[in-house]
Every structure is written in C-alpha cells, then in structure tokens.
C-alpha cells in the first residue's frame, strides 16, 4: 500500500510542487507554517482539490484519475465535520453504507469501531452533544470505517484544548500504530509531528525544504522555520576545518567540515557578560539587546549584532546582569555546544 505521489497545484501567486512517498504502515507528517500548502497537498491526495500536474499512485494503481468518492481513503478534517443530523453511530456507519454494505452490517461495524475508540456508550448521541476529544475520536472511527488504504489527517489535534490534546495525541498514536495503510498527517505543531510521525516532511511556500526522521530534523534543522520550531539558533556559513565563517563572525565548532555548512546551538548554550570576559572563550562577540521576554521558566533575550541570536538565561541571571533592551553586551558560546553539518 505504498503511496507514491507528485502533487502539483498551481494557483495565482502560489505553486505547490511536492513529491511524497509513504510506505505501508508509515506515518508521514507534513509540517509547515500557515499558507505553506500542507492542507492543499492533503486535499489533492483526497481528490477534493484538482491538481494541475503530477500523479498519485497507491499500491501501483493510479489514484489521481479517480474522483474523491472512488479513492480508497479515509480523511479526518480539522473540525471533524461530523454530520450534525446523524447520530454518532450513523456517522461512523455512513462510509460502509456508501460502499453498499447493508444497514445492519454497517451499524455493527460502526459499533465495533466506536468500541475501539472507547465511545461505545455515546453511539446514540448527536455530534453536538460530544466534547471536542470525543468528536475527534468519532471522526477517526468514521474515517477508519471505510477500511482505507490511505489515511489523511488534517490538523487532527488543532481544535482541542491543551489537556485533551495530550490524551488524544497518545490515543491517536496507538491507533496510527495499529493502522497498516499509509498515513499522511498535516500539522503546524512540531510536538504533534514528533510524537505521531515516523518521518517529517517540512513544507515552506509549496516546496519540501527538509525531510527525515523527527530526531534527525530536530537535531539538524535546515531552515529558520525548522530551527525556530525545534528551538535552535541556526546559521549558514562557509566551513574551513573546525571554523565556520558566518557573515563577519567566525564560529569555532567541534566538527571538522569544508564548504557551505550549517551551525546550530541551543539558546541555553549562550552565555552573556556585561563586560568583556577574561580568558576569552573563542566564540565571543559584542551584541545589542533587542528584546527580553518570558520563555517557560526562563528568560529569552533577543540579541542583535554580527548574528541574530536567542539566548535563554535564568531570571536570577537577568537580575544579576541588570539587562535592558538597547544595552550592549558580550555573548559567547562554547565550541562543544555547537553542532555543524553540511548544508
């Protein structure tokens, strides 16, 4: 049930061009900022948005020539779109009914799926009587009821509050692990993507900018967007041995590289000094404080200078250093805390 697709959708001022391969049982997350084309890609796979080019094959058979209702897919929409006039049971039985299964048999199958998502007792309820988490599980059951070969999830957790999200995310992970077809899920939340997906495909402005296993993407971001998502400072420069020239600044790294390279380091690795420190750590530069904000339990300091840097320090350090925006300051990062990799 391998999915092999090249999706091309051309709109005025926007072009999506995306190659996608998903193995049976694999969960691929399309991750990207708003307007990157994630949902367009998903709708193209479903047949809800017409493609201007490319093709989709699933298990070797062409999919792009079929209308949405003939594709062997199941789709979970962002706000679920449960039919308001049908009961939960009939919502889940809707798909099998459309496939020509008898009423009794589809209801039996629906009841079984509701049992599996833990909602057997809500079968007679109408969608508006459900909580957000319950509606999400019904939407998943409804999509699985058609026995899809390709499961499509559009921001499946976006409509949930933080607490429900945590629980539903781990439930969804178990269900996705049980599903033996290909799964493509769209999200802008890196945590959802990391937890749910076997592989991330990062899309920006309609094109793939990076893909790989979540851990790999998190460790070696290749765009500013990905770096921000995973919370790293990221720079592109030219490497010469254990040094990478980034603009005017030469950063010393622990890896030896040649040619264009990325350097990444976490905001917590940046040390700040009011005056030029003695002993001169090798990566030292003078910067201007651009802004200061809370960041979890810590304080995030935005620095301007030869490179733009986020530095995380403790509130105590903030008080000690007596930092104010606009102030000039010294910043340093140890070579061992940086990570350099080829661009």
């Amino acid at each position: 049930m391998t999915l092999d697709a090249r999706l091309v959708v051309t709109r005025p001022a926007f072009t999506l061009d995306l190659a996608l391969r998903v193995a049976p049982g694999e969960v691929v997350a399309l991750l990207g900022p708003n307007g990157a084309g994630k949902t367009t890609a998903l709708r193209a796979l479903a047949g809800l948005t017409a493609m201007s080019g490319g093709q989709i094959t699933l298990r070797g058979r062409p999919l792009h020539t079929l209308p949405a209702e003939s594709r062997p897919i199941g789709m979970v929409f962002q706000d679920y779109l449960l039919f308001p006039h049908l009961t939960v049971l009939d919502n889940v039985a809707f798909g099998p009914r459309c496939q020509g299964v008898s009423k009794a048999e589809s209801r039996r199958a629906a009841a079984e799926l509701l049992e599996r998502v833990g909602l057997a007792d809500r079968a007679a309820a109408k969608p508006r009587q459900l909580s957000g988490g319950q509606a999400q599980r019904v939407a998943l059951a409804r999509a699985l009821a058609v026995r899809p070969e390709l499961l499509l999830l559009d921001e499946p957790l976006a409509a949930l509050d933080a607490h429900t999200r945590l629980e539903i995310r781990s439930r969804l992970r178990r269900h996705l692990a049980d599903f033996d077809g290909a799964t493509v899920l769209v999200t802008h939340d890196p945590l959802d993507a990391m937890v749910l997906a076997d592989r991330l495909v990062v899309i920006e402005r309609g094109a793939v900018v990076q893909q790989g296993p979540p851990a790999e993407v998190a460790r070696r971001p290749r765009t500013d967007y990905v770096a921000r998502l995973v919370g790293l400072n990221l720079y592109r420069g030219v490497a010469d041995g254990a040094r990478v020239q980034v603009g005017e600044l030469r950063l010393h790294t622990s890896e030896h590289l040649e040619g264009t390279a990325f350097v990444a380091f976490p905001p917590a690795a940046v040390a700040l000094y009011r005056t030029r420190p003695d002993g001169s750590p090798r990566n030292l530069w003078e910067a201007r404080i651009d802004g200061i904000e809370r960041h979890g339990d810590n304080v995030r300091v935005h620095l301007d200078g030869p490179i733009t840097v986020f530095a995380d320090i403790t509130p105590a350090a903030l008080a000690d250093l007596d930092l104010t925006p606009g102030q000039r300051i010294w910043a340093s990062v140890k070579a061992t805390e940086t990570h350099a990799y080829p661009a």
Binding site: L48, P67, A68, F77, L81, F83, C98, Q99, A143, V146
Partner: protein, 277 residues
C-alpha cells in the same frame, strides 16, 4: 430640538439614554402605514356575518372551492418541490455558463403580473399553443380550463418562492460536509440525499410553506389559463371575486377563511421568516 444633552461627561455611548422627542415626520406616516395595513383586515372581521357563519361555511359551493383550493395548492407545491429543489441545487452547486441568466429567469414569475403569466401559459399550453397542440394531438391531453390547468398556473407563479428559499439555504450550508461525505465514498446523489437535503431541510420547509401560501392565493394566472368553472377550476380566490358581485356576505366569509389560513401560516413560520433578527 435635537440638541444633545449629556447627563455626565464620559466616553461616547452608542445609544442615548435620554431620548429626545420622537420626530413627528416619521411617527405620523408610520402610524398611518400601520393603519393602512391593519384596518382592512379589521373591517373584514367587523363586517363578518358571525351569526350565520357556521351555515355559510357549510354551504356546498364554499366547501367545494375550499377543497379545490387545498388540493390544487398542495399538488402544485409537491410539483414545485419535485422540480424546484433540483433547480435550486443546480443554481447553488454547479458552475455552468449562463448561471446568472438562469437565476434571473427563475425570478421572473415573481415580478411578472400573474395575468401575463396566464396569457403566456395559454400561448404555450393552450389548445392552439406551441406545446398544447402537440399534447392534444399525441395524447389527447388538454390543460386549459381543467383542474390540472389550475395546478400548472399555481405552480408557475409559486415556484420561484421555493427555488429562492432553497437556493439560499444551500448557499448558507457548509459545503465541507459534502466534501467529508465524498471522502467516505458517497456519490453526488448520495451526498445530496443523505447530507445536503437533511441539512437544508428547514429552508426547504419554509420555502414549501411560502410556495403553498402563494399557490393558495393565486388568482390572475388561474382565471386566465384555467377559467372559472365551479368544482373544477373555481378556487377560493375566484369564488371570493365572484361572490362579491352576487352575495357580498359570502365573499366576506370566504375571505375570512383565506385570512385564517394566512395567519396560521404566518404563525408557523414566525421564528424563521417573520421575526426580526
């Protein structure tokens, strides 16, 4: 006289709490307009022969006209539903060239004088009409001056009410539910039957009731196309008109019946159509 008096300084409020005197240039015409709408109906109630009302209502020609009106209006509404709902769906859901022109054509009977509609129907479906000739020659069917003709005249005049109401409901319905149904394997017909129609049902019901009320009151097209024969084409409005010349009290009784039916319809629709937002 409109000098604003501010009771206390402060941020501007959206509404003045101390209202100035109402301007008579608006209030007087408003009250006159209200009287103009209500007084004739009140007059109908005042002049009604209440003491003899039960006997008059039970008179055969009254019952006959009432029965004919109810039957034809109901059949006309059913025909409008059968043809009008798909037409509304086509206008709301399918992109085709000339859609705006078609939508404009659908609303023509709304503004067309019904008599003109009746003449037009005669020209097409009359015994010498374009389609009427063929209908008579091939099937021996003649429509003018028959009960079927009444139904056709009523449907012609009333269908736009249904189409406009249902199309509005279709446009207001969230089409993503239809997409969800498609991803579950539903054909367009199944989507319409199991998702679209149930979701716009309130609009269909409201449209059908309006359509039925319009058909019930139809006069001009009916008398032109179907004539005025007791028992076959003389509906309530025609009976009222005829009675006014011979027996004014009977006209009042018949009018009261139609008024009662209208009020009942208005009351049943008040939540959806009549009440202000």
């Amino acid at each position: 006289m409109s000098a604003p008096v501010q009771e206390r300084p402060g941020p501007a409020r959206p509404r003045r709490e101390v209202s100035a005197r109402l301007p008579w240039m608006l209030v007087v015409p408003a009250l006159a307009g209200l009287a103009f709408l209500v007084l004739p109906l009140a007059g109908l109630l005042v002049r009604a022969p209440w003491s003899t009302l039960p006997q008059r209502l039970a008179e055969p020609h009254v019952l006959e006209a009432l029965r004919l009106s109810l039957v034809t209006a109901t059949v006309a509404t059913a025909a409008c539903l059968l043809l009008g709902v798909p037409l509304a769906w086509l206008l709301a859901r399918v992109e085709f060239p000339g859609r705006r022109v078609v939508r404009a054509l659908v609303t023509v009977p709304l503004v067309l004088p019904p008599v003109v509609g009746g003449v037009a129907l005669l020209l097409v479906l009359g015994r010498r009409g374009l389609a009427g000739q063929w209908l008579e020659a091939s099937f021996g069917i003649t429509l003018p001056f028959t009960t079927a003709g009444v139904i056709i005249a009523e449907a012609f005049v009333a269908m736009p009410f249904l189409v406009i109401s249902v199309e509005g409901a279709l446009r207001g319905a969230d089409q993503r539910f239809e997409e969800a149904a498609a991803t579950l394997g539903a054909s367009r017909w199944t989507v319409f039957r199991r998702v679209t129609l149930p979701m716009v049902m309130p609009g269909v019901v409201a449209g059908a009731v309006l359509c039925w009320a319009r058909a019930l009151g139809e006069f001009g097209a009916t008398i032109t196309f179907a004539g005025n024969f007791p028992g076959t084409t003389r509906t309530m409005p025609l009976a009222v008109y005829l009675a006014l010349e011979t027996d004014p009290e009977a006209a009042i009784v018949l009018s009261l019946v139609l008024l009662a039916v209208s009020v009942i319809i208005l009351a049943s629709l008040r939540d959806r159509w009549v009440s202000a937002p």
